[in-house]
């Protein structure tokens, strides 16, 4: 074990509120009657269904295949019948619908044949990545990026350090904490496979110091594996947002990931312990990713805890199982109080990226009217990315998006520290999210208009070419006509002269 080497600017000490959900072990959520699986639960292209309505599926059976490179497969979380493939509400801040596969479970929960790999070292890293992709594994920390891509060092990089991000800095959330406490061995299984796939020389397990049980459990599991000598546990101080990828790298290695670069560019790859656990299950047990640990907590949840929940389980069922004091259709938060977003509606399913369902937050101030910015600079002090939130706010509000880019808007990790300290209660992150999606929309439109211009230009070219060809054809036809006419005239002429000659000879005769 070694001490952290660095530190990141800004950040906050927040009340953890984690005890509420760490009192009991991880419990299994009962299988719901209906499971709704959005085809896109990851970053990249949506999966493509390979089943039809009415098909019987088994637990773990693939129901949608990956489309393109940045995509993963989707599996049936339990056995049953496909009852619908179509639009369904998804847990997204927009409240919009997206294509989903709906399964009516039969309660038997019968597994498909599982291909277990006992010694993964017999396989190539490429094969292992393929299995991980086919198992539908994405980063379970929240973003949902396909994990197999992050397990590929590629030809241009060499990975020195695998960083397992067990910081879990956001208040209330404790799913990684509980997973590390209870399934430390499973996580290390995954770590071994990840190290092998990445050809990384060492692994650092970073855990915040407010999780002594998890640290002890991981340390104990690690002591049983003498061959993992290159793996160490680093206890990092509890501070929000230590769990941000770039922030944690700075804390643990004292290296900064440059703007517009990825951690892999400085030889580091970061994964979540939940993802490591899923990788271990997929390779050693042949189980695709069909469930995850979800923290259900908040002031309105008397029996808060962590629940191993099948994907597609309606959040409503999970909340009923936790005996939440929530009225139907009352909004709740997916994710934590700092970075999560409010959702409403009872019909939303648990997806791969759902780490926490938060119903009721302690000491929340009533929504107040934002006051004008007084330029106190508190937001810049707490910004972990060293940005100038008040400038970004100013330009986002004025819709001067070019300027927001100059101030590195896209380095903002939307951690919410600036919101938290703002004495004027300005919803800064909302402005930044607004500006980001506006800029992305502008880029999309620009791309579309470029395409339209290209198509219009090639159409004009084509029309011109066709007109020219037509003219050319007409000219040719005219020429041909003239030629035949001339030929005819000549023929007539020659016959005439011949006749004349004949008559002349006749006359002579």
């Amino acid at each position: 074990m070694s001490a952290p080497l660095g530190d990141f600017p800004g950040g906050l000490k927040l009340p953890g509120h984690k005890k509420r959900s760490t009192q009991g072990p991880i419990r299994k959520t009962p299988i719901s009657k209906q499971l709704v699986l959005p085809l896109q639960q990851h970053i990249g292209a949506a999966a493509v269904p390979i089943v039809e309505v009415g098909d019987k599926v088994l637990k773990g059976q693939r129901i949608a295949r990956a489309e393109g490179h940045v995509s993963v497969c989707l599996h049936a979380p339990s056995s049953g019948v496909i009852t619908a493939i179509g639009e369904h509400a998804i847990p997204h801040p927009s409240g919009l619908s997206a294509p989903c596969i709906t399964i009516e479970t039969d309660g038997e929960d019968r597994w498909i044949d599982r291909q277990q790999i006992k010694d993964f070292r017999q396989h190539s890293a490429h094969e292992l990545r393929q299995i991980i992709r086919d198992a539908g594994i994405v980063g379970l920390g929240g973003a949902g990026f396909p994990s197999f891509i992050k397990l590929n060092p590629g030809v241009h990089h060499s990975v020195e350090t695998l960083l397992i991000n067990g910081a879990e800095c956001e208040p209330y959330i404790s799913c990684d904490d509980m997973l590390m406490r209870e399934r430390a061995d499973g996580i290390l299984d995954g770590v071994e496979i990840m190290l092998f796939a990445l050809r990384a020389s060492r692994c650092i397990l970073a855990i915040e110091d407010n999780k002594p049980e998890a640290i002890a459990a991981m340390r104990y599991a690690l002591s049983g594996r003498s061959h993992l000598s290159q793996t160490e546990i680093v206890v990092v101080p509890t501070r929000y947002p230590t769990g941000g990828e770039k922030q944690l790298i700075q804390v643990v290695t004292n290296k900064q990931v440059p703007t517009n670069k990825l951690p892999i560019d400085i030889g580091i790859v970061c994964h979540n312990p939940g993802t490591a656990y899923a990788v271990g299950r997929a390779i050693l047990h042949g189980e695709p990713l069909i469930s995850r640990v979800v923290t259900v907590t908040g002031t309105d949840v008397p029996h808060a805890g962590n629940f191993e929940t099948l994907f597609g389980t309606p959040i409503k069922d999970l909340l009923v199982f936790c005996e939440t004091r929530r009225q139907p259709d009352e909004p709740f938060i997916q994710g934590g109080p700092m970075m999560g977003y409010s959702l409403a509606g009872d019909d939303l399913p648990i997806t791969k990226t759902a780490n926490c369902i938060l119903v009721g937050v302690d000491d929340v101030a009533p929504p107040a009217q934002p006051l004008p910015c007084i330029r106190c600079g508190d937001c810049a002090d707490v910004c972990p990315a060293s940005l100038l939130p008040q400038q970004l706010y100013w330009y986002s509000r004025a819709k001067d998006f070019d300027k927001t880019r100059d101030y590195n808007l896209f380095d903002c990790i939307e951690c919410g520290c600036c919101d938290y300290v703002c004495p004027s209660k300005i919803p800064l992150v909302s402005y930044f999210r607004f500006a980001k999606t506006e800029i992305m929309n502008q880029e999309r439109e620009r791309h579309k208009s470029d395409l339209a211009r290209q198509r219009h230009e090639s159409r004009l070219e084509r029309l011109e070419r066709e007109a020219q060809e037509k003219e050319e054809r007409q000219r040719q036809r005219k020429a041909a006509l003239a030629a035949t006419k001339a030929a005819k005239a000549k023929e007539e002429d020659s016959t005439n002269t011949a006749e004349a000659a004949d008559s002349v000879t006749e006359e002579k005769a």
Binding site: Q40, S94, L96, R397, T437, S449, A452, H456, R459
Partner: protein, 186 residues
């Protein structure tokens, strides 16, 4: 006196040569301002500005023949961008040309389509697919919503529908507007 005249003449001669050389060596092909204006225009090629497409309009703006407020699909954002580029005062959209509408998409009712190809000929960006006496369809990703195909259709089977946002294209609402709504609501 004489030296001064000679010096100035020489200087003028040398600078003239330098300028002459530069004008040949660093000659800019095409008209960059037209390209820049064309880049800002939305490329719907709808002709609502009374020109036969976005590029002719851009050329006319560059020549100073028309105002910058004749593009309804681009709306206020385009006028603002053009005003910034050309350093002129933005004006409200010329109502003669039309009004700013949400993004539209042409949809062919395929059951009613008789396959006359008139819409294919009208589409400025080749976004309609089909052949004579065969059903036509719109390539949704490439349709600019210019409405030029609606008029020629003899059986009125083309509808313009508003494009719906999906979770990919969805944008976070403007917080200042949300505040305003709350303020006026309370």
């Amino acid at each position: 006196m004489l030296t001064a005249i000679i010096a100035i003449t020489l200087l003028a001669l040398i600078l003239g040569l330098v300028l002459g050389f530069a004008s040949i060596r660093f000659k800019v092909q095409g008209d960059p301002i037209v390209d820049q204006i064309d880049k800002i225009l939305p490329q719907t090629q709808c002709g609502q500005c009374s020109f036969a497409g976005c590029r002719p309009y851009a050329e006319a703006i560059a020549a100073g023949e028309v105002d910058i407020n004749r593009c309804p699909p681009g709306g206020e954002a385009t006028i603002q961008a053009l005003a910034d580029l050309l350093d002129v005062e933005p004006k409200p959209l010329d109502e003669e040309c039309g009004v700013e509408k949400p993004k539209m998409l042409a949809v062919i009712d395929e059951a009613r389509c008789i396959g006359c190809t008139l819409c294919i000929q009208a589409c400025p960006v080749d976004a309609i697919l089909g052949a004579a006496k065969h059903m036509h369809t719109v390539i949704a990703n490439e349709c600019t919503g210019c409405e030029l195909c609606v008029e020629p259709c003899p059986v009125d089977c083309i509808d313009m529908v508003e494009t719906q946002p999906n979770p990919h294209t969805w944008r976070w609402p403007d917080p200042s507007h949300v505040d305003l709504q709350r303020r006026t609501g309370s």
